[in-house]
Subunit: 218 residues, 2 copies
């Protein structure tokens, strides 16, 4: 099985532009990528990055003494500057073995959650994300192709049915939580334990409860 | 084991007031309550409602021909007009057996997800909700008490530690998704299959994708 982690090298996480500068969004997205790669590795698999442009080798650090490096751990990087859907489909078409596609912004992913996902015994396995996305996908059927536009979770289920593939759905809050918008940041502080969480804390973010709702303050 | 489902009888779901009228919020919250009660029952347990006021017996219907009744299925109702925290703690104090507290707005809950939660073998079991809430809680330790204010998930973990109780965390997207705000409604249409989903559809709601984000339109 191959485990592919797509990553938008340039202009990542644009929906966080209200709370993070362009440089910070790069650093934070790299920290999440490194977390996901490490988590995949802890399940016993070797991840590959599918990036829109080469990742520069500069380790991103929070600048504080004794801080962790928040850069990406080593993993083979394949560059494909196309949009996510054709880039992933090119991998699916070329692969002789099952392919798992795990999003790079699953800052809450744990080895246990990913292991359960990778162990599901169906021809297509989906971990839905909040808002109808597909946060992780395992394609064991040679004819399965992706379409990440819109409510991809529904589309992927429908495509699997159309090719007669059995479908498994993995119910995981940790895999369902992709970090896209400011409203997602509390989850990283509440449930994360790796680089992305440390990066947010080092950048001065903390939980704040207002009117009974949790948010972040900096 | 007792399974208690707290329910705010009057003025439920005020954060949905931008998209649903007061009467509709009552009907929708009753549909979710009925779904949760039914789901609990399908795990082989008999749920009890812990309501802030008596539930009137009027079945709420969508008015269309052949429609389901969206009203609450029968379950014993205990009325306690206090806030959620003291009302639940009164149950915990009085109970000789383990108590599960399952929120009434878990419209995506399935018997499988609830069964896994109820089967966890710890003295305190928590299913976190988005935003640091505690969507389901199982107290098997006599000294455990709740505090639903603020980031209750963190507080409940801390309280369990303070009394020396073992803690289990259940990782479930379906249990993590409580339906509080308009942004939550797409999840009901995407993943729900029971009364609350049928109620939303009958009320004219459907999924709408704008700028790559999913929402609802009516």
């Amino acid at each position: 099985m191959r485990v592919v982690v797509p990553f938008a090298t340039e202009h990542p996480k644009t929906r966080l532009d209200g709370v993070l500068s362009a440089e910070e969004r790069v650093a934070f997205s790299r920290a999440m990528l490194a977390d996901v790669l490490e988590t995949v590795r802890e399940t016993g698999r070797d991840p590959e990055v599918l990036a829109t442009a080469p990742l520069d080798a500069t380790a991103v650090s929070d600048g504080s003494a004794g801080a962790d490096s928040f850069g990406s751990p080593e993993a083979p990087v394949r560059v494909d500057d196309r949009a996510l859907t054709p880039a992933v489909n090119a991998v699916l078409e070329a692969s002789e073995e099952p392919v798992a596609v795990v999003m790079a912004d699953l800052a809450l992913a744990t080895p246990a959650a990913l292991r359960e996902f990778l162990a599901a015994e169906n021809e297509v396995v989906l971990a839905p994300g909040r808002g109808g996305g597909t946060n992780a996908l395992l394609a064991c059927h040679p004819d399965f192709r992706v379409d990440y536009h819109g409510t991809s979770y529904l589309d992927h289920r429908e495509r699997a049915r159309a090719i007669g593939a059995s479908v498994g759905i993995v119910d995981s809050f940790r895999l369902a939580t992709d970090i896209d918008e400011p409203i997602d940041l509390p989850e990283v502080l509440l449930h994360g334990e790796r680089r992305a969480t440390r990066w947010l804390r080092a950048a001065g973010f903390s939980l704040a409860v207002t009117d009974g709702r949790v948010g972040v303050e900096r």
